[in-house]
């Protein structure tokens, strides 16, 4: 289309400078996204990045494609409406753990169930960063760094992969901001997957959770091929530590809506109007 020569990852970056803190894991995700886009040779004009609100949701402005920075928690809804209306586009939804699993939790489970052909990248740093460090749905029970919950949230964190599986997501992977090359590969696979793909990225926030630098030591790369049995995946997601990375689960399931001819019947409108005449 517009780009005749092969573009590099940096060519997919916009001129807008990220607002993120030094050391933020989201820089890795941004790099991985542009790298994956370059690898796939994606057409910038036919790609849309959609997000909600939060640090990670600022990402669309940093990529030179079309973008939509919406309201808190609703990025997935915008992305699905867009993809259903414009099946020709490549649509990626992005956001953080508060955006996707708390205020947008209902959209997350229904997006998994609905299986519209989009990719959802949740950048999970287990904290609300933009509002200066409150507990999110993935924060450990005893994390007591927030003035809002000085004794820790005291409730068990979500297991996003388990929730996605239970809700019907047909493609579930996990990445880690310390390994952007792996994230880039997973994004490329996610975009190629013909259905809803959920990429959960453990993306560190060293500003509010400096202890997350320890993640490096506990993250593992899963070597086995992706599980294809939901039973086995359920066992894995309920019992693992949440730091296994790689493509964890995939199943073949037709995405929604089914393809059909959307060519307008020129007489259809007249027919609808005529159906009211007695």
């Amino acid at each position: 289309m517009t780009e005749a020569i092969k573009l590099k990852a940096k060519d997919y970056k916009s001129e807008v400078k990220p607002i993120w803190c030094p050391g933020c894991g989201h820089f890795s995700v941004l790099n991985a996204i542009t790298k994956a886009m370059a690898g796939l040779g994606i057409d910038k004009d036919n790609t849309v990045l959609v997000s909600g609100i939060g640090c990670s949701s600022r990402l669309p402005a940093y990529v030179d494609s079309y973008g939509f920075h919406g309201v808190h928690g609703r990025g997935l809804a915008i992305a699905q409406g867009l993809k259903v209306a414009r099946p020709d586009l490549t649509v990626l939804a992005l956001g953080g753990d508060g955006d996707g699993f708390s205020i947008g939790g209902n959209h997350f489970i229904h997006a998994c169930r609905r299986n519209v052909n989009i990719t959802y990248i949740a950048m999970d740093n287990e904290v609300y960063g933009m509002t200066k460090g409150q507990a999110s749905p993935t924060t450990p029970m005893d994390w007591d760094h927030s003035k809002l919950t000085p004794h820790g949230p005291g409730v068990r964190p979500f297991k996003p992969a388990a929730l996605a599986l239970a809700s019907g997501a047909p493609w579930i992977a996990r990445g880690y901001s310390g390994n952007p090359n792996q994230i880039a590969k997973l994004i490329a696979q996610a975009v190629a997957h013909p259905g809803f793909s959920f990429l959960h990225v453990m993306s560190q926030c060293i500003t509010f959770c400096p202890e997350q630098t320890d993640w490096k030591a506990i993250v593992t790369e899963r070597e086995e091929p992706a599980l294809t049995s939901a039973d086995e995946a359920a066992k894995l997601f309920l019992h693992e530590d949440g730091f296994q990375t790689g493509l964890l689960y995939r199943e073949q399931r037709a995405s929604w809506p089914p393809e059909r001819d959307r060519a307008a019947d020129q007489n259809a409108l007249a027919g609808l109007a005529a159906s009211f005449r007695v």
């Binding site: 939509f68 920075h69 309201v71 259903v84 809506p257 609808l272 007695v278």
Partner: protein
């Protein structure tokens, strides 16, 4: 000039088929060239509650709810009793009932003419699947002079998907009913013209939206808006569009915004509680300048309120419910047929002005069906502005009209990020005062500077009194003006179709020469009155007639209130 009309109420249990009976009767009446309205009244239950088909056959299309009933068919008395507030009887009323139950004292006290007919017995005698509603249809058809063959054909069409036995039973019951000779002379209004349409306001709104180019609908069910969405689901399939059932109204409005961002004209429909959930994201549509149309079919509020009955009490939230300074469009269809025009106009305005349009219909016009002459259409607007091909694309460029070029994904080289964050002309987030003030002014100017033409209101009559109303109140207010004219106090009626941006100069000119203004609306707190007073310093004395629902506005009550205002 007194209007001629005949009102008929058919009451029964939900599921007993009184609505079907009313619909078929009205369709047959339409084929004869008649005019009429069918209002549907329900209790909150889906089955086993009460249900009423409230018909008004008329000689024009100014459809107001009947103030009294000439003929009442009570399939049973328990269910009739639940409508006693709405279905008034008098000495001139006729009552048809089964005869197997004792007639309530309250009914006898009104001294109507009563005929007892053993519906249930007759229906089951003529066919094992025989149903009372079809028998009543036959009886009523004969009273109106409608040939039974036409009723049988319409019933067969309605029952097309059902077993043959149902159609046979309906035919037998209709014929049995039509064989009953009742010694009643009803004042049946004259017929007008054949070739009319038979539609509900919700269907009309759906048609207007599709004709204006809507090809994507996100839907979350809510009474009384679900039937718009259901009708559009079928319609969209035919015109090559797509409907998406959302998980909630928060998703519905955002899916609508997403589709619109994709360049596909997008729409959603809801009612008060759903509109409340959508308001944050309607603000996003305003800030990101994404065109969306939201049809809000008003019901009794606040909270769950009275979901099955009408009120005009969402005006405040439609006008003022968005946070921040968020100028947008608010329109209200004036009657069932006007739902086609006003919804179509709203879609076109939203697209042209790149903002959100809220259309305030209500349960009365939304769920009533009527026989209407071919509805007026909104002429197609000019083609969309061309996409620039050179230079830096500035999505939110400051222009003299306030409208900037809207590119969609797929357009080469126009890439931008739409944003609910305040932004500069390019769309880059900005918290600078200068950007904020410029973009606020841009979003306001594109509405303030736009020429909306003459359709902002429907103005009729003249006199010393101006009656100002909006949306579905129009018919009741117009009829009240007729009554006032008969009594020597002619009035001008100004029915507002465009509520925001308020056309203050045009409204000021419209009330000029009147000494008294009465603002009429169907809500408790006089929402329209306060809105108008906030924008206009009326030189006239301004009075309010604000009557909450759910019983429809009564022309006689309005006329009396106005008379008291002018002759205190």
């Amino acid at each position: 000039m007194s209007k001629r009309h005949l009102s008929i109420a058919i009451t029964g249990a939900g599921g007993a088929g009184v609505i079907s009976c009313g619909e078929l009767l009205l369709q047959a009446w339409a084929r004869q060239g008649g005019r009429g309205l069918l209002r549907k009244a329900y209790g909150p239950q889906i089955r086993g509650g009460e249900s009423a088909a409230l018909l008004k056959l008329t000689d024009d299309e100014c459809y107001t709810a009947a103030s009294h009933y000439d003929l009442v068919v009570a399939l049973d008395w328990d269910n009739f009793a639940r409508f006693e507030d709405e279905i008034r009887l008098g000495p001139h009323s006729r009552v048809l009932c089964d005869g197997s139950e004792e007639i309530p004292a309250s009914v006898l006290a009104a001294q109507p003419g009563i005929v007892e007919l053993p519906f249930a017995e007759l229906a089951s005698a003529c066919h094992p699947e025989g149903r009372v509603n079809m028998l009543v249809l036959g009886v009523l058809g004969r009273l109106l002079g409608l040939p039974s063959v036409g009723l049988v054909e319409l019933a067969a069409r309605k029952l097309a998907g059902k077993p043959q036995a149902y159609r046979d039973a309906a035919a037998a019951c209709i014929e049995q009913g039509a064989a009953r000779q009742l010694d009643w002379k009803l004042q049946v209004p004259p017929t007008v013209a054949t070739g009319a349409c038979y539609m509900s306001g919700n269907q009309a709104a759906g048609l207007g939206a599709l004709e204006a180019g809507i090809r994507f609908v996100a839907a979350y069910p809510i009474t009384p808006a679900s039937d718009v969405l259901e009708w559009m689901a079928g319609g969209l399939e035919q015109v090559g569009g797509q409907l998406l059932q959302a998980e909630d109204e928060l998703a519905a409005i955002n899916m609508t915004i997403g589709a619109a961002f994709g360049g596909v004209p997008a729409f959603t429909a809801t009612s008060g509680p759903g509109l409340a959930l959508m308001t944050e994201s309607i603000g996003l549509a305003v800030a990101s300048e994404t065109p969306v149309t939201i049809l809000n079919v008003m019901r009794g509020g606040p909270s769950t309120g009275i979901p099955t009955k009408s009120e005009q009490s969402d005006l405040n939230i439609a006008l003022h419910g968005l946070h921040g300074d968020a100028p947008h469009l608010v329109l209200a269809p004036l009657d069932i047929a006007d739902c086609v025009f006003t919804t179509g106009w709203a879609v076109q305005l939203a697209q042209q002005l790149q903002t959100a349009a809220i259309v305030l219909s209500d349960q009365f016009i939304g769920q009533s069906t009527a026989i209407v002459s071919e509805p007026r259409r909104c002429p197609s607007s000019a083609a969309a502005t061309a996409v620039p091909t050179e230079g830096d694309y500035l999505r939110y460029k400051l222009t003299s009209s306030g409208v900037s070029t809207l590119a969609s994904p797929g357009d080469a080289g126009q890439r931008f990020t739409a944003d609910g964050l305040e932004h500069n002309e390019k769309g880059t987030p900005s918290a600078r005062q200068s950007d904020h003030q410029r973009q606020l002014a841009k979003r306001q100017d594109k509405l303030s500077a736009f020429g909306f033409g003459d359709d902002w209101a429907q103005i009729s009559g003249s006199g010393a009194i101006a009656l100002v109303c909006f949306g579905s109140s129009s018919a009741a207010v117009t009829e009240a003006a007729d009554l006032l004219a008969e009594r020597g106090s002619p009035a001008r009626v100004i029915s507002l179709r465009l509520l925001a941006p308020l056309q203050t100069d045009a409204l000021r000119a419209a009330v000029e020469g009147c000494s008294t203004v009465v603002v009429v609306e169907q809500n408790h707190s006089a929402q329209l009155l306060h809105y108008l007073k906030g924008y206009l310093d009326f030189p006239q004395a301004v009075h309010s007639y604000a009557m909450a629902g759910p019983v429809p506005l009564a022309p006689e009550a309005i006329a009396q209130a106005v008379t008291e205002v002018i002759n205190p």
